[in-house]
């Protein structure tokens, strides 16, 4: 997205009335915004648009958000997400629940670079610039009354928006339209486990904890304070379904399989021993840097792999 378009977006959503603070605010201030955002209470329609790796994805859903928990409706399907749980509430409700006592990480990668009071859709809001160095990495339009992020924009290192999330038909303190029960839901309970050689830090993303993953594998959860990803090292897995028609992601270290959604990206590759999958909301430039610090893809192509499998 060009600078001009970015300005137009911001100009269309907000009328600037007062600048509260200049650059130099602390990372703690960002933490406070994110904490308030997580704990806010509202219902709304959420529209998320992402442009990542040349792929454009759009998602529209109805959400009810309260106390770190969110009920999401897409068409007639409901999901419940939050506080370590992700569950789909269909005929046979099922989900996964994480148990973790990890301490929140602190990071100095980002600081709040400026807060501007604005009015958006008749609501008093604060426009918050999250800076990584001299560049804006994210821009939040936060409802003052509830702390809800009405608009969230994430930027690439060259200033293009790669993901934009906005709330429409916003109702503060209202959460009552979701399904009334999670009766009969089956959970996979995921326990923390010891790290089996996962790096403590990958391009500034710190390893928060490690959990068991399918096939005696492991999931390392990494965060840099704003974005996060999970690194799955799938040793005893023969295939990862869902990458049948991937977009090639070409970096200096090799060719990877890329699948995007409006919310996150999944990157898959194999070396001589393992399948690796990264799932997260990280920016494209961060993803490239993260991949550079991990084992490189096996040079063999998929075709060559199948050729070897069939003919030895």
């Amino acid at each position: 997205m060009t600078t001009l378009r970015r300005l137009a977006v911001i100009g269309s959503v907000a009328a600037v009335t007062l600048t509260l603070a200049a650059a130099g605010a602390s990372a703690d201030e960002l933490t406070d915004y994110l904490e308030r955002s997580s704990q806010s209470t509202y219902s709304a329609n959420r529209l998320v648009v992402s442009v990542w790796g040349g792929q454009t994805q759009i998602s529209s859903s109805f959400v009810e958000h309260s106390q770190g928990m969110e009920i999401v409706q897409v068409d007639s399907t409901w999901s419940m997400i939050g506080n370590g749980t992700a569950m789909t509430m269909d005929d046979a409700p099922h989900g996964v629940a994480f148990v973790s006592n990890s301490e929140p990480i602190s990071t100095d990668r980002y600081v709040v670079g400026g807060i501007t009071q604005v009015t958006h859709m008749g609501r008093t809001c604060e426009l918050v610039n999250v800076m990584e160095g001299d560049a804006v990495r994210a821009r939040l339009l936060v409802d003052v009354r509830t702390g809800a992020p009405l608009i969230t924009e994430s930027f690439t290192d060259d200033g293009r928006v790669f993901r934009r999330s906005s709330l429409q038909n916003f109702l503060a303190y209202r959460t009552y339209s979701g399904p009334s029960s999670t009766g009969g839901a089956e959970y996979d309970i995921v326990m923390p486990s010891a790290s089996d050689g996962l790096p403590d830090v990958i391009f500034g993303y710190r390893l928060v904890d490690v959990s068991e993953a399918p096939g005696d594998s492991e999931q390392g959860f990494y965060s840099d304070g704003l974005f996060s990803f999970s690194l799955f090292v799938l040793g005893d897995i023969s295939s990862v379904t869902g990458f049948e028609s991937p977009t090639p992601l070409i970096t200096d270290t090799g060719v990877y399989d890329l699948v995007t959604t409006a919310y996150d990206v999944s990157i898959h590759w194999t070396d001589t021993e393992n399948h690796f999958v990264i799932v997260g909301d990280l920016p494209p430039d961060h993803a490239t840097a993260v991949l550079a610090e991990l084992p490189a893809p096996d040079a063999r192509s998929t075709f060559a792999d199948w050729w070897h499998r069939l003919f030895g």
């Binding site: 506080n83 897995i237 959604t261």
Partner: protein, 200 residues
């Protein structure tokens, strides 16, 4: 008023309870008997019904906030969450919530309670639903068996056509499962990943 006095206070009370749906089985029988045989009881029943109707159709008056007990909105908060406030009440209540930290706290607690209730595990279905459930399970079982058989056949064919060494455990994992796991784990992390919007 003669007709009112013609009904005993006991029956009048039962009729009122009947309208509220609060009668026991024996009391209900007593009321039904009275309404079938006693014209005074029928008249009293109609009078009670009309009174209730009249009360319901009275215009709603805004109570000044300063007259509410303690100046707070305890009872209106629940109605506010349920979207049941009349239009005229909304501005006053919303404005009070904005300015009163006590009511905001109470509103938050109310909403937390509702969220907690939603998250409660469901109760077992009544016994009379069991046969249908069992039938559904059997159908699912049959489907699973067919799917497994088809899968086994496909794998057998593949190996028969071109046996190869997979070189690993043979288990597969879905990208959807991995996304779900990441979404769940990311939602646990506070506050650093609070910005992340949840993937449905």
């Amino acid at each position: 008023m003669a007709s009112v006095n013609a009904v005993s206070p006991h029956l009048s009370m039962l009729l009122s309870c009947y309208l509220d749906g609060e009668l026991t089985k024996d009391e209900l029988r007593e009321v039904v008997d009275a309404l079938e045989t006693d014209l005074d009881a029928i008249a009293e029943f109609r009078r009670l019904k009309e009174s209730r109707k009249a009360v319901r159709t009275l215009p709603t008056l805004n109570v000044p906030l300063h007259l509410l007990p303690g100046g707070h909105l305890s009872e209106q908060l629940s109605a506010y969450l349920d979207g049941e406030l009349v239009t005229a009440e909304m501005p006053a209540v919303a404005s009070h919530i904005d300015s009163c930290s006590e009511c905001r706290r109470e509103l938050g607690e109310l909403d937390r309670s509702r969220t907690a209730v939603r998250a409660l595990p469901g109760v077992e279905p009544p016994a009379f639903l069991e046969p249908r459930r069992e039938a559904k399970k059997r159908r699912l079982g049959a489907r699973t068996a067919v799917a497994v058989a088809a899968g086994v056949a496909a794998v057998s064919l593949a190996f028969a056509a071109a046996p190869f060494d997979s070189g690993d455990g043979g288990q597969s994992v879905s990208i959807v499962d991995l996304e779900s796991r990441h979404t769940a784990r990311a939602s646990l992390s506070t506050p650093p990943t609070g910005l992340q919007v949840s993937s449905p």
